[in-house]
């Protein structure tokens, strides 16, 4: 694996997404502010805004860096560089994750801090962590589908599926007895059920990204 080449491609993708990253960070900070100081309505509004910004940054990153290469006909240029297609795939997966994950980590850390430091919503902790990992899972689904299909239609479908899944998973998780029990409590609540759910989510992430690598390694036509 030519790591310096992969790094060059990641830095290139960051460069082209720099405005979106900065805007998302600013929006994220504003959302956290609303959550912190907006009272109960602000908590809900800020959370919705934060989720929307996370969806937006993952969509913009994948649409721009993965699908944009083909749509803007820059894929031939990228592939004329001394890289293999697996190195290209690695750069795209890592590049998109490295755009999304730092933002995601900051926002999740901020959100969790507010939950922990807040006066009455401590029980929300486990649910917030599970849903945050679910958002990461949705982003990985989008990255994998965009890379493998190289199709805007399929990628939009994956994005819609990811967002719908967020609502469905949110509803289901909130109704799992092991989670529901402490959800509205005043104590930070974490149990085996929460651990199992997070492990399943990370296993699915590994499966999606590993699957994308596997399918890419079997492709015979790249342009």
């Amino acid at each position: 694996m030519n790591s310096s080449m992969v790094k060059s491609l990641i830095l290139k993708d960051w460069y082209f997404q720099r405005t979106a990253i900065l805007l998302a960070l600013a929006g994220g900070v504003v959302s956290l502010g609303i959550i912190a100081f907006g009272g109960q309505p602000g908590f809900t509004l800020g959370l919705i805004l934060l989720v929307t910004i996370m969806v937006m940054i993952s969509a913009m990153s994948v649409m721009g860096n993965v699908l944009g290469e083909r749509e803007n006909q820059t894929l031939a240029f990228a592939m004329s560089l001394p890289i293999s297609y697996l190195e290209y795939t690695t750069s795209k997966i890592l590049g998109n994750l490295l755009i999304f994950v730092p933002f995601w980590l900051i926002m999740v850390a901020g959100c969790v801090s507010l939950i922990v430091a807040g006066p009455t919503i401590h029980g929300f902790f486990a649910f917030a962590i599970i849903m945050a990992v679910e958002m990461l899972l949705s982003t990985c689904l989008l990255i994998a589908v965009a890379l493998v299909t190289e199709s805007k239609g399929w990628s939009i479908s994956a994005m819609v599926a990811g967002n719908l899944a967020l609502n469905v998973v949110g509803y289901l998780v909130a109704h799992i007895p092991g989670i529901q029990r402490g959800l509205f409590g005043t104590k930070i609540y974490w149990n085996l059920t929460a651990t199992v759910l997070v492990v399943i989510e990370f296993a699915l992430i590994a499966l999606l990204l590993g699957g994308a690598f596997f399918i890419q390694s079997r492709k015979k036509d790249f342009i």
Binding site: S8, Q73, T74, A76, F77, S80, P82, D221, F222, I223
Partner: protein, 298 residues
């Protein structure tokens, strides 16, 4: 074998509506090959296989001593590639592209890149989206040449350019090619473009290589003989005749194995040779394609 920059042996690639069939191609180091074919003949597929961007179903491909597609990353370190469907990053400037590529290629020549920018009349700080199509092609050429590649692969670089921009690109390309020895594969459906810069010619049609030779050999061995036959005369039997045109007593024979002795053979058989016309590369290409297609349908 070692001084071949490109070596295709029995390469095939099958698509639902197109097949590249048993391609044998040899490009010696230091030569400039014009790769000519009609639209959809298989030029771009062949070049994509050469670059490792498309994997062949069968056959072997070696480029600069590397086995493709397995060693494509190592091979591409020494290849400059420009294709008609290649675009640079629109939001970035040419200077950004140069800065991006500089650490990637150990032989990147910044002075040469800047000299080419002056020669091509390109502004380094102008964004790619503000460039005309001709300027974009020149920018892509600059980025390919400044890495000092051992092999330059140009896939229809002049397609879509207006005549003025095409001539500018070609003349500048010829000027920079005169700088030093490079191995070049230049594909086009425009024979005039290819004729100007190539010393070897390969024709491809419907996924098959139909002829390959030195340019001068092509121009030397292809001729049109305009004959006048006597009243009861028959068309003389000559070697390499691929087409018989004209009419009645005024046949026009196209041969790909011309020899000056053919004139006396015609005379001996009672025909008068009115003219022996040389042929342009375009005429040779068209005659070649027609004769092959006629053979296939016969």
């Amino acid at each position: 074998m070692n001084d071949l920059s490109v070596h295709f042996e029995g390469v095939s690639k099958k698509y639902p509506h197109f097949s590249l069939d048993n391609i044998h191609l040899e490009l010696p180091a230091g030569s400039i090959m014009g790769f000519i074919g009609a639209n959809g003949a298989g030029k771009s597929t062949t070049i994509r296989i050469l670059m490792g961007l498309v994997h062949q179903d069968t056959g072997s491909v070696r480029v600069l001593g590397h086995t493709m597609p397995a060693a494509q990353a190592a091979a591409k370190l020494d290849i400059g590639f420009v294709s008609e469907d290649m675009r640079l990053y629109c939001p970035a400037t040419l200077a950004w592209h140069m800065k991006f590529m500089r650490p990637i290629y150990p032989r990147w020549d910044q002075k040469y890149a800047e000299e080419l920018a002056r020669r091509f009349d390109l502004k380094l700080e102008q964004k790619i989206k503000g460039l005309s199509h001709g300027q974009r092609v020149k920018a892509a050429l600059l980025l390919a040449l400044a890495r000092r590649p051992r092999l330059l692969v140009l896939d229809e670089p002049t397609t879509g350019l207006d005549p003025v921009a095409r001539m500018e690109v070609l003349s500048e390309l010829m000027a920079v090619l005169a700088d030093e020895d490079r191995t070049i594969l230049f594909s086009s459906h425009n024979t005039l473009d290819v004729e100007q810069i190539s010393d070897q010619i390969t024709f491809i049609d419907r996924g098959k290589i139909i002829d390959s030779d030195d340019k001068e050999a092509f121009l030397d061995r292809w001729r049109r003989l305009r004959l006048v036959l006597p009243a009861d005369g028959v068309v003389p039997r000559l070697p390499g005749v691929v087409a018989v045109g004209g009419s009645g007593r005024l046949p026009v024979l196209t041969t790909n194995r011309f020899d000056p002795a053919m004139v006396s053979v015609c005379t001996d058989q009672g025909a008068t040779v009115q003219a022996v016309d040389t042929m342009t590369l375009e005429e040779i290409f068209v005659a070649n394609v027609h004769s092959r297609r006629e053979r296939l349908t016969a």
